[in-house]
Each structure stands twice: as C-alpha cells, then as structure tokens.
C-alpha cells in the first residue's frame, strides 16, 4: 500500500529526513516512535503534501502510484488521511459544513453520489457518539475553542467519516487523559478491517496498550534506526531512547 524508499526531506534548507525506508501492507498497523524533533511529524507532512517540505531524494509509492507527484487534495482522494498533532482552528466555518464538504469531495472522486444533508447528519451523529463529542461540536467553528482532547477526537471523527485506506495519526494520544485515550483507541480499532492500514506516531508506549501494532519502528535522526514487533515499544518505555547511541547524540550536539 505504502512504500517509502530512501526518503530525504528538508524544511527551510535543514535536512530532517535522511534516508527513511518503510513498507506498509494493507491491514497493517505500524507504530513510529522516537524522541522529540526526530522528524515524525515531518514524515506525516511530507506524506500529506504540505508546502515548504522539500523532498530531495527517494520515492514514495501509494497504491502503486507516485505519491509525491500528487496535489494535497488528490492524496486525500486516493485514501490518505493525516490526523494532525496540532489541528488548526477555523472560526467562521462550521465543523458540520466542513466535514460534509470533505466527505462529499472524496465521495465524488470515488464515483459515489454525494450525501444529502440528512444522510450526512445521520452519519455525523453516529461518529460524534463514537468519539463521545456532543452534537454541539458539529455546529461550532472547526476546532474553534476546542480543548486539546476535543481537537484530537474531532480528528478521529473525521477519520471515521472519510473512510481512508491509510490513516496516519500524529500523536493523537498526547495530552489525553486515560478516558480520552480509550476513546481515541476505540475509534481507531473500530476502523481496523483487515484492509485499512495505520501509521501510529507516538511518543509513548501508552497508546499501544490499546492499539496493538504489528510493527514498531524507532525513528531517530531522520532514519528508522530499529524495527521490531510490539515488544520493542515496551523496551523503549523501560529504557528510553538512550540505546540509540552515537548518531542521535551527535545530532543533539550539533
């Protein structure tokens, strides 16, 4: 589904990703862990096509096509979804109107008929319930005045409504209490159907107690320095990122 080969990328002339490889097959859940500043969010932005992030080397294939060649909205049409670490607030645009627009834009690309207001409302209500947000949140401006946790749940709600084939969750667990963490985890688990794939970016192992990953990768200094199964996350939790050794230490001194 997603094949990243020797990806080098920079922001403002600063190289952040330095030869990253990743291969994700349908239905798999990959966790990416790593210290702050390792380039985890950068990876998410590169995959979703954010401006200002330059790829200097490497390829990314998504469903057999060149992902890096696609416009931002095209990537979404093809099934890529990024749950943001810091979702923006958009006062003046209702959450409901925004989600309806986006669901129908994607349906249109898939050759499906757009949902009517009533059909959409029904789906949105169900999704709200699933992430335990009250219906008021549909009427408010997109993320406007939402708490940190509410923003994350709003991201998960969008993920549920948009039915993507690859979900990238960028620290959807950070700043959440244990109840909210479970809501997010349940949202993700409900979407696991054996075909949909996930990249779970997280700083802590905590979330992985609830979402069982098939693979865990440690990202440090712009590369995957270690890969393993779920037990790797437990090791990291115990020992921290100290084992990363020289490379990472150099980066810190630089």
């Amino acid at each position: 589904m997603l094949k990243i080969n020797n990806l080098h990328a920079s922001v403002e002339q600063k190289e952040i990703l330095k030869g990253l490889n990743l291969d994700i097959k349908p239905g798999e859940v990959h966790a990416i862990m790593g210290p702050n500043g390792a380039g985890k969010s950068t990876l998410g932005y590169i995959l979703s096509g954010r401006e200002g992030y330059e790829v200097s080397e490497g390829q990314v294939e998504f469903h057999g096509e060149d992902l890096l060649d696609m416009a931002i909205e095209e990537r979404a049409h093809k099934g890529l979804f990024l749950a943001f670490q810091y979702p923006v607030e958009i006062p003046g645009v209702s959450n409901m109107a925004f989600m309806k627009e986006s669901v129908n834009a994607i349906r249109e690309q898939r050759g499906e008929t757009p949902l009517t207001a009533t059909e959409f409302l029904k789906k949105a209500k169900e999704a709200c319930k699933q992430v335990q947000l009250s219906l008021d949140f549909l009427k408010r401006g997109v993320n406007e005045g939402f708490s940190g946790g509410e923003k994350k749940r709003n991201e998960i709600m969008q993920m549920i409504l948009l039915e993507p084939s690859l979900c990238i969750l960028d620290e959807s667990d950070s700043g959440l209490d244990i109840d909210a963490l479970q809501v997010v985890a349940n949202g993700v688990n409900s979407q696991r159907d054996g075909k949909r794939s996930f990249i779970i970016i997280t700083h802590y192992q905590r979330l992985l107690d609830y979402i069982k990953p098939d693979y865990v990768h440690i990202l440090a200094n712009g590369k995957v320095v270690k890969s393993g199964d779920a037990s790797l996350a437990t090791d990291v939790e115990k020992e921290g990122y100290a084992f990363l050794g020289q490379d990472n230490a150099e980066e810190k001194n630089a």
Binding site: E73, V88, V93, F98, E101, A105, I106
Partner: protein, 419 residues
C-alpha cells in the same frame, strides 16, 4: 481651470430648463472647485486620470436594453439607457399612494416636490454631485404619500453603453409612516461615463428598504452617491453591492435629522483584475438618540484596489447616539491594494461608538488543513473567505434579490481566484 471641469461648466450653462435655478448654484460652486489630485484627502487613493483620458463618442445612441428578470422580485421597473428614461411611466400601473414622474415631464405639483428635494440632502462637497447637478436632465421623482405602504419594489435600472456619457438624478420622498423598497441597479462594461445621485427624504416613522447595485465593470466609469435624510423615528435599511471598474466611486451620506431614527447600512465589494472601487460613507448624527450600524466588507484580488473611508460625525447635541462602523477586508493577492480609514468625530459625551477596520489574508496552514481533507483549492477558498460576504447578503431583507445575487457574487469570487 481644469479642462474637464470647464467643459462641464460650459455645457451646464447651455442647458435651459426648469431645474436651471438649481443648476446655477451648483455651477457657481463648480467654478470655485478644485480638481482633485492626490493631495486632496477625499481623492487621495482614487485617480481621475481614466476619466480625463476617456474618449466619448458624441450623439446619444440608444442601445438595446436587456433587462434581466429577477425571479420572484416582481418589481416595478424604470429603465434608463445612457441616462434617458426608456420606460413609459404613463403605462405603469402604480399602487395607490405612489407617484413617479420623469424629470423631463413634471407637473407643477411635482416641480414643487422636486424643488423641495433637489440638492437639499446631498452635501455640496461632492464634486461629482455638483457635476451631476449641472448636467443631469433626466431622472425620476418618486413621491410616496403619508401612510402608504408600497409593497412592490421599485427598481431603477441604468445601463451605460459604449462611448456614452450619462447623468441622471433620483429624488425620493417618503411621507410620514410610509414604506417602500427602492433598488438602484446600474451596469455597463464598455468605455463610458455615468454619474448617478439619489436623494432620499425619509419622513417621520417611515421605512425605506434600499439597495444600490453598482455593477459597472471594465471600462465603464461610474461615480455616484446615495444621500439619506432621516426624520424622527424613521428607519433605513440599505445595502450596497459594488463591483469595480477602471474608476468606480460611491459616496453615501446618512443624516439623522430627526431623533430616534435607525439606520443600517451594509456594503459589499468584490474586486478582481485591475478594478478600482472607492467608497466614502459619512454618518451624520445631528440630533440625539439616533442609531447607526454600518458594515462594509470586501474582497480584493489580483491587481485590484479598494478604498474605504467611513466617517462618523456625532454633533455636540447628539447625545445617546449609538453608532457602529466596521470594515473588514480580505486581500487575495500581493499585488492588490486596500486603503481603509475609519474616521470618528465625536463632539457629544454620552454616546456609544464602535469602529474598526481589518485587512486579512488567507492563512496557508488553514488552507492546507482543508486541502488535506480532499476539499479542492477553489472550494476551500470559498469556504474560508466567502462566509463573511454571504453573511451580509443573507441580511438583505429581500430574499429574491439575495437569491439572485448569491450565485453571481459566488462566481465572481471564484473567477477572482483563478487569475
């Protein structure tokens, strides 16, 4: 003396009709007037060069007037082409209490009405108001009897065609407790000059619903104004929709002459390409207890230029005034320009006054968020940027007009984007 002004004076002096006494006053004022340049504050950002360079073909070719029907509006239409009234008023079925006559064809009674109204409300300081005084020979006098509620909207259409110059005048009086809806609808795109000034005398407890659709584009130069006098407990709800052309300018005056009057004025301007639009509004609170709410909002794309000057003048005596003026702008392009200046002059101490002006740009991060959810760029821009315009259109009391306008404004905005 500026050449352009001189020829106006010469032509104005040659006209001999029943309005000539009024014309003489304005001609005298014009004789003393200075041709505006960049050092004149009220014309600082609007150059008159396009006007001076305009070549007009003499003769008064009367073009075909294609009048778009507005679904459900059911208006009483009065059509001017190049300043000449085309509609035959005698054929119109007018509701009781409504009297309409052409400036060219007025009875003694209407002359008295007109004499009482002409240039009484429009301040002398508007240079092109004086030009219009001097040259307008055609126009309308609309008189509404006291207590008459005129349901059918009155639509005054002005069409400018290639190479033509036109000046027309509208005088409206609403008797006490009367109500009416007046739509001034101007359009044209080919090289032309039109001036159009309207004066409204809104009687005690009367209600005027007013629209000015200034839809001149491209080379159609339009300079005009709407001037309202509010008597005691009267109400005004006015909306201006403006496009821009090589030179477009509108002056609006709302004058509270009677206490407890309420005025609401909304303005929307959407400018693309190299269009220019200048709105100067002045709210005069002469007496106590008046209320004014003004909201002007615009979007400027490409190389277009918007000028907004909103003045609130609260006279010494005008205690307990409530006045609000807000101007919001969105700049879509680095080459576009917005000059906005709210001006407050308050001489009374017990008033509530709010004003502000903002110019914003679309945030990249916000746009990215919408795109990442599969929404197209043009739709994302509409969602982010059109809501604040739509809001004012939705506030228009006449829903037929709003429904007719919305898709037009929408597609105008989308086109602004693409370029």
């Amino acid at each position: 003396m500026n050449q352009w002004l001189q020829q106006v004076i010469d032509r104005g002096q040659a006209i001999d009709d029943w309005l000539s006494p009024h014309r003489a006053q304005s001609l005298e004022a014009l004789g003393k007037a200075k041709w505006p340049n960049r050092r004149v504050e009220s014309w600082k950002y609007t150059s008159l060069a396009p006007l001076e360079q305009l070549e007009l073909s003499p003769g008064s070719a009367v073009g075909e007037a294609i009048i778009e029907d507005i679904e459900g509006l059911n208006s009483l239409d009065l059509v001017f082409v190049n300043g000449k009234l085309q509609s035959d008023i005698s054929l119109l079925v007018l509701p009781q209490g409504l009297h309409i006559s052409s400036l060219q064809d007025v009875s003694v009674k209407e002359k008295n009405t007109a004499n009482a109204l002409f240039s009484k409300i429009k301040p002398q300081r508007h240079l092109f108001g004086l030009v219009n005084d001097a040259l307008a020979e055609d126009g309308l006098i609309i008189d509404i009897d006291a207590n008459s509620k005129i349901e059918q909207p009155i639509r005054i259409i002005n069409i400018s065609s290639d190479g033509q110059e036109s000046h027309h005048r509208v005088l409206v009086r609403l008797g006490s407790h009367a109500s009416a809806t007046v739509i001034e609808h101007g359009q044209g795109e080919q090289a032309s000059l039109s001036t159009g000034f309207a004066e409204y005398d809104i009687g005690e407890q009367a209600y005027l619903e007013h629209y000015r659709l200034a839809m001149h584009t491209h080379q159609a130069i339009h300079i005009g104004g709407c001037h309202f006098s509010l008597q005691q407990k009267s109400q005004l709800n006015s909306t201006l929709i403006a496009y821009g052309s090589e030179l477009s300018r509108m002056d609006v005056d709302i004058i509270h002459n009677g206490e407890h009057a309420k005025a609401k004025f909304n303005a929307v301007y959407l400018l693309g390409e190299a269009e220019h639009f200048d709105l100067h509004s002045t709210i005069e609170h002469v007496v106590p207890n008046g209320t004014t709410k003004e909201n002007a909002r615009g979007i400027v794309g490409d190389k277009a230029k918007a000028v907004f000057n909103g003045r609130i003048h609260i006279h010494r005596n005008a205690q307990k005034t409530l006045a609000e003026l807000h101007n919001r702008n969105l700049l879509l392009s680095r080459r576009g320009q917005i000059n906005t200046k709210p001006e407050l002059e308050i001489y009374a101490d017990d008033v509530l006054c709010a004003h502000g002006a903002t110019v914003a740009e679309t945030e990249e991060e916000t746009l990215y968020y919408l795109l990442s959810r599969g929404i197209s760029r043009s739709q994302a821009l509409v969602m982010l940027n059109f809501g604040f315009i739509q809001e004012l259109v939705d506030q228009m009391p006449n829903q037929h007009l709003a429904q007719w306008l919305k898709p037009q404004l929408h597609s105008r905005f989308v086109e602004m984007e693409v370029k």
